[in-house]
């Protein structure tokens, strides 16, 4: 059973401009899987893991496009997502209730039914 990490309430407001994305602080999200080659900023150790949106950072150019000399537009909503170490590492977690925050772009996140 997933041990979901708590996030601040009230949440921090987005420090950078955003049109608003699919997800809001407190939402439970799962990081998509994917083993394609290329420049991506979603680490392998988080793929398939479920966390909570800690805050919206803002909208930024897509690094996967910018890396190849394209303009990275339309800008993508970037979220800080909080995971428990139990969620990421399971039995191998050093301390299950410790947490990890990472910035994940919206197209790498999907809604999940997890509580």
């Amino acid at each position: 059973m997933t041990l979901l990490a708590q996030v601040a309430s009230p949440p921090f407001a987005p420090p950078y401009p955003t049109r608003g994305g699919r997800f809001a602080p407190g939402d439970t999200v799962r990081v998509k899987r994917g083993d394609a080659p290329g420049h991506m900023r979603t680490p392998g150790y988080l793929r398939g893991r479920t966390g909570r949106v800690e805050r919206i950072c803002g909208d930024f150019g897509n690094p996967e496009e910018l890396a190849y000399r394209r303009d990275g537009l339309p800008a993508c909503t970037l979220y800080r997502v909080r995971f428990t170490m139990a969620e990421i590492w399971g039995d191998r977690a050093e301390q299950p209730a410790d947490t990890l925050d990472a910035e994940i772009f919206e197209h790498w996140l999907e809604a999940t039914d997890a509580p």
């Binding site: 083993d35 394609a36 080659p37 420049h39 680490p43 392998g44 150790y45 793929r47 150019g61 990421i88």
Partner: protein, 116 residues
């Protein structure tokens, strides 16, 4: 790009991989390294490429480069490739200049030119 197949993630994607003790050696920065750092900042601020392009080339250089080259050696390799891709100078120009630099003397101090 092709290393993902073996492990499901690329070599530079190091989070959670096996590793030993953290080395605490700290090297003293050389002038040429500070110049590389400055070139990266200026090239990106001037719009020739972005830090994403820097990273993309660093990643595509492969794990061997990480193991055998120093940080700023990899950076100048990446900056140079990004600038060639951006059309800032040609490979022919780079070839000619690198060859000429080599004739100036055996040390960085002699080869660095006027700095002006």
């Amino acid at each position: 790009m092709s290393d993902t197949k073996k492990t499901g993630h690329r070599w530079h994607d190091m989070g959670g991989t096996d590793a030993g003790e953290i080395a605490h050696d700290q090297h003293a920065y050389a002038l040429w390294e500070k110049r590389v750092d400055a070139l990266l900042r200026l090239s990106t601020v001037k719009g020739y490429f972005t830090v994403d392009g820097l990273r993309r080339v660093l990643e595509d250089m492969g794990e061997d480069a990480f193991e055998t080259m120093s940080y700023y050696e990899r950076w100048i390799a990446s900056i140079t490739q990004n600038m060639v891709e951006a059309g800032a100078f040609t490979i022919e120009e780079l070839n000619a200049r690198m060859a000429e630099v080599e004739t100036r003397g055996p040390t960085y101090g002699e080869a660095q030119g006027s700095g002006e």
